[in-house]
């Protein structure tokens, strides 16, 4: 019984808290980087242009912000000669995107698990983002992206994710 309760408590801990608690992860190492690339459903061609930004310990993508996903904190650790990162973007209307990716040699490859719960079912779908580091990209701050996402969540602006 105690094990079951422990398991339930463990499952109830949000991913963000788990990552923060993991001493192998830290934050901010990718700040200032922008990756331009394409996104698409796992196992299918990457069919949507997107750009992922890392600023101020947070990350977001232009495609996600336009759909109402708020910038989220990201966490990194060194692995296999590159940098692994994880983070979550959330939208009230469209659910939650859990990013898990690797930055190596100026390229990023990330698996994105999208989850959206409705009263009659839950959608769990995997996407991929592949991009390359682009220098000199002017990006808004995380606060500006958050404001844009807040507006877009109720009234999407060019949401093509």
């Amino acid at each position: 019984m105690a094990r079951i309760l422990m398991a339930l408590v463990f499952l109830a801990v949000p991913i963000r808290t788990a990552l923060t608690a993991d001493p192998t992860f830290s934050s901010g190492a990718l700040d200032g980087m922008s990756f331009v690339g394409k996104l698409g459903p796992a196992g299918k061609p990457l069919d949507r242009d997107d750009t992922v930004y890392f600023r101020d310990g947070q990350f977001w993508s232009m495609g996600c912000v336009r759909c109402g996903f708020q910038p989220g904190a990201y966490y990194v650790r060194s692995a296999n000669g590159g940098i692994e990162f994880q983070g979550v973007l959330e939208s009230i209307e469209r659910g939650r995107l859990s990013y898990s990716g690797t930055v190596s040699d100026g390229r990023v490859s990330a698996r994105i698990n999208w989850r959206k719960d409705r009263w009659y079912w839950s959608i769990d779908k995997a996407f991929w983002f592949e991009g390359t580091l682009e220098e000199g990209i002017e990006a808004s701050s995380a606060e500006q992206a958050a404001r844009l996402a807040a507006v877009a969540d109720s009234a999407p602006q060019d949401c093509r994710l």
């Binding site: 779908k125 999407p156 994710l161």
Partner: protein, 213 residues
Amino acid sequence: MNPSRILLLAALYLGLIFGGAFIGQQLTDLVAFDIRPSNEPEVHGAIMTCTAAYILASAIPFVPGAEIGLGMMLLLGPRIAVLVYGSMVAALMIAYLIGRLIPPAATARAFAVLGLRRARDLSLDLAPLDTGARLRLLTARAPRRIVPFLLRHRYLALALAFNLPGNTLLGGGGGIALAAGLTGLYSPGGYALTVVLAVLPVPLMIFLTGHHP
């Protein structure tokens, strides 16, 4: 019955079957989405609209409701099975209740219009009787071999009819449910329990295993 009336009935029958299949295809096409974050709210709205249409369509005789439900589960995945199951139960309850509300005289008139005189006479004979008396009358008039057995086990027979492949030819789930209501042989509680159990196997199997039959 004269040949022109037979042709008219045959045309009506085929029209109902193909019309039902057409409605089913339209509903199935409506939910054929590639669900992504950008279109999920619209898909949700479409699923709700489609569910309402599915309930109403499945309550209509000769619409292949079970097949539409299977199509929805094939397109949207096993987790939609709960919604499909609830919708089918609702549809069969609606059709049954409509059948209960239709006056026997109206049923008899419809049989008369179709030229089905014996069915009209039987309907008029059954109209003033309670359930027990109706069962006795039907048992007495029916062929001795099968019908009395089916009447004794009418809830089981109904459950089997709902699950009979190709039952669209008999009127589909909606038609069978409407007929069940029209006969007055099924109590609302017994009918509801029968439907809840009869519709359950396929959606439950799909929900639990993720496999389609």
